[in-house]
Amino acid sequence: MTTEENVSIAEPPTTQVAPATPVAIRVAVRPEGAEQVVDNEVRIKVEDLNIYYGARRAVRGVTMDIAANAVTAFIGPSGCGKSTILRCFDRMNDLIPDARVEGKIVLNGEDIYAPGVLPVEVRRRVGLVFQRPNPFPMTIYDNVAYGPRRHGQSDKKALDQIVENSLRRAALWEEVKDDFRKKSGLALSGGQQQRMCIARTLATEPDVILMDEPASALDPISTLKIEDLIHELRQRYTIVIVTHNMQQASRVSQMTAFFTLGEDRAGYLVEYDQTAQIFTNPKQQLTEDYVSGRFG
């Protein structure tokens, strides 16, 4: 892949010639149109990623570069492996006993699956926001301070600052500033809980934030708040979001990757391009069928 071209991969992707080393990805700043395009550096480089559960291959031959300071959306039908790929980026798949990963995932120049790399270290640099809000049964303060505390931050003033900053960045501060030290995280509404979970992730100062359908359990108004928040967070973070909702993908993301299931029941990358391209002018017929609602 060069700076001018965008990836578009036809099945089978394993026959694809490895692209030249990229230095940047062209990213449309505004998802609605490609009129303003900038070159972002590459944050995550995925090379020929294969994921197996036992003997079954679940994901086949994914190669893609994920841009820094942009939102990349993963779309595709259920079971196509988009969440599975996402969870490889912070090695959460290590928790599944017979999951096995082949290929490379390079984060900031370092292969996170290289021998000797500790999953715990990877997860400190890559945050994950889950589909269902999963607050700890503690106060809002303790929820947000959880990561920094486990990483050894015990200074009270520093923690206060981290918690406040994280809640502000997650656009939750104004709603909880009066009682966040006393109120349980479980006493918040679903949408607030999810923003608290995002604040909890921000508190660990990750480079990358992964979001696994972060709004699918929320009502429309909470969903919009989360989407606004994602817009804000893009300035500082690299965000990868899995979503079932194509409107959401087109609203929040600058880059979109479309995955589907092959005949071998393994998920693969069909097309990866600027979001505006994917939704208005896809290169693959499969993509067009999917985004126009003909299947999936």
Binding site: P97, R150, A187
Partner: protein, 296 residues
Amino acid sequence: MTRSLVWDRVATGVFWAIGVFVVLVLGAIILHFLLASIGTLSLDFLTSDPSRTELGGVGPILWNSFYILVLTMLITVPLGTIGGIYMAEYAGDGRIPNLIRLSQELISSVPSIVVGLFGLALFVTALGWSFSALSGAMALTVFNLPLMMRLSEQAMRAVPQDERDASLALGSTKWQTVRHVVLPLAVPGIITGIILTAGRIFGEAAALIFTAGLSTPMHYDFTNFDLTDPQSPWSPFHPATTLSVYIWKLNSEGLGNYVRQIADTSAAILVIAVLLFNLGARTLGSVLHRRTTGSR
């Protein structure tokens, strides 16, 4: 009325009748001993020595019951909880954990009189602890430890995987996750387990006949803190008839005018104590559950 509706009524009636029967049996037992202990049950009875010529009390015997209970708990609670953590969080499904689970079940189904004989051979004779509170507590540990382990394992397994994932995704280690998320959430369940097993220990007789012995120092001197002196109430080496063993002894070989009353009153104390343990377990469990989940 259709056939299915008739059978629905019949089934409801049968279940209702069985429920009422169970409650009646429990009520009858409690009522019987309460009525039988009227006139005998008093503060004096609870504190005085059994050797008195008029109506001997159960003071030292009640002390022994609680002493053995506490001693057993001091051994089983820490070991059982640590074992439970291992089984729930670390062991997985391999051969060794399965062997442990099998052993747990087998030990739990060994008749307690057999455990008592084992205790006689090992603790009383081979280790030379003679008939003592310590021998009794160790015999109780033999079948209480697997139960305690099982209960704390279940309490930890009941913690949702979401909570563990949230902690791990923030870059915590496994131990941090167990220590700061799983254990606090499991504490209500573990405490309920502790109190329920306490009721069982408090009422156990067969395992103690050959280990804690059928005698007790006649007069307890609570200022004697010499832990090696078998006459001291504080020493683990004092022979320690418990309430249940005392009831058995009175009924099988007791002579004298008041044997019947003393036995019935002791039984009433035992039933009330066990009932209180169970009620306490329920109350404390639900209070702690409300507190740790923040749903106050």
